[in-house]
């Protein structure tokens, strides 16, 4: 369970938001809404602990995330604007390293299975450099399948994805929520997960 109280965030001298209070618990889906520049990415990065908030607290299971540090990171995954994959490596190598850093021991079969589920059959061993934008995004999203954590923080996960991949994402989020997971995301595209009520948080 993630609880946010009185959160305020600055970008330079500019106050992005203040007095933000919300919480999310197992099986819940939270969409952060707002216009461009309203601080959605800053909020998500603050929730990850990458940005130190100007004010307020972020608590994971009752403890401050900056105190938990690595223990918090072991339970969350963040997908940012950039895909965080290396052009020189192929999809399997990229995922093996990401999973390795997260402390998951995986064999190549599991990685290939995840890539196939993401619709990348036959692309597993190609250097990521030759894949399209959308395919790169799918490789990055495959991390969600491989690394088993309860909190997903997704910044514009649907960028560059085609209709079938958007459908797949909805399915993945649905499965994750059914397994008592939590998802916080931003998007400008419609994303509806069947049978789950989306909480919305609007930044102005």
């Amino acid at each position: 369970m993630l609880e946010i109280s009185n959160l305020a965030c600055n970008r330079g001298d500019h106050l992005l938001f203040s007095d933000l209070n919300f919480s999310i618990s197992a099986g819940q889906l939270l969409q952060v809404q707002g216009a461009n520049g309203s601080g959605k990415t800053s909020l998500l990065r603050t929730l990850c602990g990458l940005v130190i908030p100007a004010m307020g607290e972020i608590k994971w299971r009752g403890q401050d995330i900056h105190e938990l540090d690595e223990k918090f990171y072991a339970e969350m995954i963040y997908l940012g604007h950039s895909n965080a994959i290396k052009d020189e490596l192929n999809a399997v190598e990229n995922l093996r390293i990401s999973a390795g850093l997260a402390g998951c021991k995986l064999d190549d079969k599991q990685i290939i299975a995840a890539l196939r589920r993401m619709g990348l059959r036959g692309r597993e061993m190609l250097p990521v450099r030759v894949l399209s934008q959308g395919q790169c995004r799918r490789v990055a999203l495959a991390r969600l399948l491989l690394i088993n954590v309860s909190l997903w923080i997704l910044d514009e996960p649907l960028t560059a994805l085609d209709v079938s991949a958007v459908g797949l994402m909805q399915e993945l989020i649905g499965e994750h929520l059914a397994n008592k997971g939590m998802v916080i995301y931003t998007t400008h595209q419609p994303l509806e997960v069947a049978g789950v009520e989306t909480q919305r948080l609007a930044l102005s």
Binding site: I52, K71, G100, G103
Partner: protein, 227 residues
């Protein structure tokens, strides 16, 4: 807890960086070729007087090594910063300082160690004695890791800045002066028949101190740069 063992983490990150370096070989060769060229330019510039060349050699090779190692510093974190993998390393449930230490180690293997290997060949151009060549190699073996470790902190501080490449040299070069003095000093003392032990011991001490503290400082600098 998904924490990897210390060695597991180090080998994961080092192997990753080495594979990446091997797939981008041009970057690796630039440092080495720069080193070879700078050292080789001096005999052409100052003339072929054996006595003078022999006297200049230790300082010259060391200054060139210092400059060559500055070339690759900017690349230590910048590629990972740009494609977002550095951010993911920070969010991994592992110690960032150890990840940084591993990256420094990989960086040294790719850009520092080749200098150590090629230095004796270059030393021969200056008619250095066999004993002096050995000591030159040992000083570089102790000294180039220090340059990578100190350079890492500079690279982390200037990450994402425009023109960071020049800035990192300005930041790091003054800090490397002791390494240059003791490194070149050790070789000179051997040439003039004095024991090089004290200079080597001081280099070793700097290396140990740098390894103990700099990865933590660098990790902190990275957190600030990414905020």
């Amino acid at each position: 807890m998904n924490q990897l063992s210390l060695l597991g983490l180090i080998s994961l990150v080092v192997r990753r960086d080495l594979v990446l370096a091997m797939r981008r070989r041009a970057d690796v060769l630039t440092t080495l070729i720069f080193f070879v060229m700078v050292v080789s330019l001096f005999p052409l510039g100052v003339g072929p007087e054996m006595e003078m060349l022999r006297k200049m050699a230790p300082g010259l090779v060391w200054v060139s090594a210092l400059l060559a190692s500055m070339l690759s510093l900017g690349r230590m974190f910048s590629a990972d910063y740009l494609d977002g993998t550095l951010e993911q390393m920070m969010l991994a449930p592992q110690s960032l300082a150890i990840v940084v230490l591993s990256k420094i180690l990989a960086h040294w293997m790719v850009s520092g160690f080749p200098l150590v290997i090629i230095a004796p060949v270059l030393g021969m151009q200056f008619d250095m004695s066999a004993q002096a060549l050995w000591v030159l190699m040992i000083t570089l073996l102790l000294g180039t890791p220090i340059l990578s470790v100190i350079g890492a902190a500079g690279a982390a501080l200037t990450l994402g800045l425009r023109g960071g490449g020049a800035l990192v040299s300005l930041l790091v070069l003054p800090l490397c002066i002791p390494v240059l003095i003791f490194g070149a000093g050790a070789v000179e003392s051997v040439v003039s028949g004095i024991n090089a032990g004290s200079n080597l011991a001081l280099l070793g001490a700097i290396l140990v101190m740098a390894l103990a503290f700099m990865p933590w400082i660098t990790a902190h600098a990275l957190r600030i740069s990414l905020e």
